[in-house]
Assembly symmetry: C2
């Protein structure tokens, strides 16, 4: 079980934008300087924009900005935007997917684990990461 790089790259980008909050739009190139291929990052930022996590300014001097206060953006928001909702197994995602009933003990395990992961992700905000004394000065 692993995250794709999308989630990681997306988080790096959001962290960068949070650090440069209030400094005006950040160009793709400046965000990409953290080591993510530019054209790929461009796609990923599209996901973040459509999820309402970043806003963009087009044209000369344009770029990307964080769209909400870092305290109001959770890891769950970001991972969701980048990889879609956490679905360990289809059977927890939609009722009646397999022939087994909703009392299936295996399903219960998946459900419990999914809830736990979501909870953990929802507890961490971009703001709390910035507040981390080590994270504050960290250059992603």
């Amino acid at each position: 079980m692993k995250l794709s790089t999308r989630g990681k790259y997306g988080l790096y980008a959001m962290f960068y934008l949070a650090q440069h909050q209030g400094e005006g739009p950040q160009s793709l190139q400046s965000i990409a300087s953290t080591g993510v291929p530019g054209k790929y990052l461009e796609q990923l930022l599209g996901h973040l924009r459509r999820a309402g996590l970043v806003s963009t300014v087009r044209g000369v001097q344009g770029g990307y900005q964080i769209a909400k206060a870092p305290e109001d953006i959770t890891m769950l928001d970001i991972i969701d935007a980048m990889e879609g909702p956490i679905e360990l197994s289809e059977c927890t995602a939609s009722e009646g997917h397999c022939g087994r009933s909703c009392t299936c003990p295996v399903r219960k395990v998946w459900q419990r684990l999914t809830d736990s992961i979501n909870h953990e992700l929802a507890c961490v905000t971009l703001g709390s990461m910035l507040d981390d004394p080590e994270g504050e000065a960290m250059q992603i």
Copy 2:
């Protein structure tokens, strides 16, 4: 983020074997009757055997048996055997993978989440699933 079917199939198989504990070896075909392609399941049971979770008897009347008490087999054991260790990101798996230091706040998030998932998986045993009043009679 999702599990592959390997993890799910492996868990179904283990649950089946736990339910038929003490009834002698269960043939591949009988285990496969839960809806997993036989030849594929055969491979997967190989993983479980090499992980020490099931034992096998070859030849006529042979088959697969659970190798330990269900209370001593956790979800983590099974998922580990089927999919390898949970590694959300390489940077939590091995030091110095990326150029960022071990104080990287992103890394901290991954690490915390990984720990949480592992803990959750280690808390649920096959035995506890069987004890579930609904799970007891459940035909996987």
